[in-house]
């Protein structure tokens, strides 16, 4: 989240190079979206939820427990209403068959959706705006600058909107009571004042940019990040795991057929390897955190 400050403790994975963060999330999200095999789904869900709890703490855990389970069940039940494929018919509703396959399929889709959403919430915490701008600042320098400026403007405009709204209240136009039309009209006035204020004051910002040489040829982009040897290690492990998982996908380890009948590849030593690799991939941030905790423990014991 943009609002999150970088003070206080950050987990180990967040301190890795932004390119690794981004690559990691891109791989787990894509895998999470495309693998509908129950084992893969389960691993992705566990990994993403565990990481979200590590990042956001206990309250998130409770939210997941009470929000996640019922909604997954609900979604599992909605799918069969639209989908009547499958051979294992459980019962008929309004002359439409309710099949075990379509329930299983709905369940799988729901788990997939939630693990992806959960990965996204982790992404929001780990990939701060700085990191994003750093990664894309070289490819799209002008737009990433626009984004950086806009990120500064949004809180500023919000604060200003509140100031304006209080100012309007003081001339007898309270936006929080009155009927719909009055509220709307007051809102419009506030917005109108805000727009003028923002546009007129932005000119000075543009002047300040030009005074500092913006627009000269050959602009570079500075960052706080450095790709160090630990990042190299993490990247190698990451690439290895992704390679195994992709190889597994190529050999059909993640294939599953839901209709007309659920068909999966039987378990073999190779599939076990792929599962393990996928597990390690999804739990990578937690593994890194664990390793670091162990290191601290050892350091303290020695001292």
């Amino acid at each position: 989240m943009a609002r999150r400050t970088r003070t206080g403790y950050r987990d180990v994975f967040s301190t890795c190079h932004p390119a690794i963060n981004f690559f990691y999330f891109a791989s787990v999200m894509l895998c999470g979206m495309f693998f509908l095999h129950p084992v893969f789904l389960g691993i992705s869900l566990v990994g993403s939820v565990a990481y979200a709890i590590l990042l956001k703490g206990e309250r998130t855990a409770r939210f997941y427990l009470w929000g996640l389970v019922p909604s997954i069940l609900l979604m599992a039940l909605v799918n069969p209403l639209f989908n009547h494929q499958g051979v294992t018919i459980l019962l008929y509703v309004n002359n439409n068959p309710l099949t075990w396959e379509s329930i299983a399929y709905g369940l799988a889709a729901a788990v997939m959706l939630f693990s992806v959403a959960s990965w996204f919430s982790c992404y929001g915490v780990v990939m701060t705006s700085d990191k994003f701008l750093y990664l894309f600042g070289r490819v799209i320098p002008a737009l990433s600058l626009v984004l950086s400026m806009a990120l500064r403007f949004v809180p500023r405009f919000q604060a200003q909107a509140r100031v304006i709204s209080n100012g309007q209240k003081c001339v007898g136009r309270d936006a929080s009571n009155g009927n719909l039309v009055q509220k709307l009209r007051n809102g419009m006035t506030i917005l109108s004042i805000l727009v003028t204020w923002a546009l007129e004051n932005a000119i000075e910002t543009a002047d300040s940019m030009r005074a500092r040489g913006f627009g000269l040829k050959g602009r570079t982009s500075f960052s706080l990040y450095r790709f160090d040897s630990r990042d190299r290690c993490v990247l190698l492990v990451l690439l290895g795991l992704v390679a195994v998982v992709l190889l597994g996908a190529a050999t059909g380890e993640n294939d599953i057929l839901y209709f007309p009948r659920i068909v999966v590849k039987p378990l073999s030593w190779w599939s076990a390897v792929v599962y393990l690799a996928y597990g390690a991939l999804c739990l990578l941030p937690l593994i890194l955190e664990g390793l670091e905790a162990y290191k601290w423990h050892r350091l303290r014991c020695k001292a």
Partner: protein, 555 residues
């Protein structure tokens, strides 16, 4: 290091007859600290903007600007960007990016430096300014003073030879302003950077200056060392004195053959020399006997913004007498502005009572409160402007109240006359100067005919002349029986014009009295005139007081 020379520079804005700058010739030597002063609208900003091509306004121009003897137009943009640093007035508007480190690096990125060099430069600057602690912060987390320091640091990271500052402290409170100016002085003294600074609050800046240039109506009125300028202004009998520090103003008002004092210390010594013996003790004024009817009464008021937050207002009891001018002074974050928002009903206290004319504030309907009872002038007048001309904007406030069109127009014109806005009615509110914008906003508030007027820092960014205009308007309102409550850092203004002054500390009023009793009783928190003359004239709190007592006691 660099020197700058202006050779009979004349400049006229498009569609204007009168030139904004007239035959200005000026040289600024290497490493010099030059202060440019003059009334608002005298052409200070226009002059400064000519010193950097990208900021130069459009218009007709003659004369030459030389940087180290080379005409500025021939100096390429890259060199100009690197060598001439420019800090603007508003701390907020100048910041481009959302992170402190990015802001510090911005100029260096533009110059195309490689990351290791940028890292070094930024680290150097952050250490010089002592702002390492903010490095990874969001810009939003900084205070106004910190933001302006950040602007300065991000300019200095480019290691300019010349630093130009256009009223850099006008939006800061006195303590932040002082810190900022000390940093500028350090840059000048320790790095040898040439500094050209324009200001209207000169108390602190003038003693730092090697040379002072006074502009009037686009032309140089006089220039020289601060003392020379003091003398020159005295002989010219110019009203530019209003902008000068208190010791100089007092010096101008009395007969003395000594050199002009610049600082409070020098002023004190000068008075001691003139009056070697202590004078007969003067009686400090007693409390005001009759305080009349109360307009606003706060009784044991407590307030905090969040349930589990800290108390911002603690046990505040205050009575604001009707028809008088009351000022609340005090440091930053002591709850002054919050107190205003409580009195105006924007916030509600969680304990205690606020009554307006004997009726509790929560009993007033919103309409009743803000139309004809309470007028609030916000700190930033721009937050009130809606329409594209001042006239439409003033009429807008009267709409929807069942007033016929002709009557509306009559009232607007009458108000414009009272606040000297007649010539500005057709202009866009954002094209007005700071002081004019404030008058326009005040006119808007006054059209609601308030009985109580609340003002938050109305003198911020105003020069001495505009402050006089504001004071005259306040007097006019007081004559009509309006009660005025003002929150301010400007103790000089309060000392001169207020009827009562209250000092805020830790969310409550520590002491409250008439200005004379209040300021002559304090030893730090008092006017420069009082600090300078208190050992001889303890009851003198304004420059005029000191001059008057001097003349009375001098045979």
């Amino acid at each position: 290091m660099a020197s700058i020379a202006l050779q009979s520079l004349t400049f006229t804005y498009p569609q204007r007859e009168i030139p904004a700058l007239r035959e200005v010739s000026l040289t600024v030597g290497e490493g010099e600290f030059l202060v440019l002063c003059g009334k608002s609208g005298c052409g200070k900003s226009t002059l400064l903007r000519h010193l950097k091509t990208v900021l130069t306004p459009h218009g007709r121009r003659s004369g030459e600007i030389l940087l180290d003897g080379v005409p500025l137009q021939q100096v390429d943009q890259r060199t100009q960007s690197a060598r001439i640093g420019y800090v603007l007035q508003d701390p907020e508007n100048q910041i481009v990016t959302d992170k402190v480190w990015h802001e510090l690096a911005f100029g260096l990125e533009s110059l195309g430096m490689d990351p290791p060099t940028i890292r070094l430069r930024v680290a150097e600057m952050a250490s010089f300014f002592g702002i390492q602690g903010w490095f990874e912060k969001s810009v939003t987390e900084l205070s106004g003073g910190q933001k302006q320091l950040l602007n300065l640091a991000s300019i200095m990271a480019m290691q300019p030879d010349v630093l130009i500052l256009d009223e850099p402290t006008s939006q800061l409170d006195p303590i932040a302003a002082s810190e900022f100016l000390q940093t500028v002085l350090r840059i000048n003294r320790e790095l040898g950077t040439t500094v050209i600074l324009s200001e209207h609050r000169l108390e602190e800046v003038l003693p730092m200056a090697d040379r002072v240039v006074v502009l009037e109506a686009g032309a140089i009125l006089c220039q020289g060392t601060p003392r020379q300028v003091g003398k020159a202004l005295k002989t010219l009998n110019s009203d530019m004195f209003l902008a000068m520090p208190a010791p100089m103003q007092i010096y101008a008002g009395v007969q003395s053959s000594d050199p002009c004092p610049l600082t409070v210390r020098e002023g004190r010594e000068w008075i001691t020399r003139a009056f070697p013996q202590p004078l007969p003790r003067q009686e400090l004024p007693g409390p005001e006997p009759d305080r009349g009817e109360a307009a606003v009464v706060l009784k044991e008021v407590w307030f905090r913004y969040e349930r589990h937050g800290e108390d911002v207002i603690r046990d505040l009891s205050l009575t604001i007498p009707k028809g008088r001018f009351t000022c609340i002074v005090g440091g930053n974050g002591t709850g002054k502005t919050t107190a205003l928002s409580l009195i105006s009903g924007i916030q509600r206290p969680y304990r205690g009572k606020i009554t307006l004319f004997g009726k509790e504030i929560s009993r007033y309907a919103n309409r009743e409160l803000f139309q004809g009872m309470m007028g609030v002038l916000p700190q930033n007048p721009q937050t009130l402007f809606v329409k594209k001309t001042v006239k439409l904007d003033l009429e807008e406030i009267l709409k929807g109240r069942g007033i016929p069109h002709q009557e509306r127009e009559k009232r607007v014109l009458e108000m414009a006359r009272r606040l000297q806005l007649q010539d500005l009615l057709e202009m866009h509110p954002y094209d007005l100067s700071g002081g004019e914008q404030q008058r326009a906003a005040l006119a808007k508030v006054l059209l609601l005919e308030p009985k109580i007027l609340l003002m938050d820092e109305p003198t911020k960014g105003l020069d001495g002349h505009m402050k006089q205009t504001l004071a005259a308007i306040c007097q006019d309102l007081l004559d009509q029986g309006v009660t005025i409550l003002m929150v301010s850092h400007d103790i000089e203004f309060c000392a001169r014009y207020a009827h009562r002054v209250a000092l805020f500390f830790q969310g409550s009023v520590v002491t409250e009295n008439t200005p004379r009793a209040f300021f002559s009783g304090n030893s730090f928190y008092t006017t420069a005139a009082n600090r300078m003359a208190r050992h001889r004239f303890p009851t003198a709190i304004t420059n005029e007081d000191v001059i008057e007592q001097w003349n009375r006691n001098k045979p």
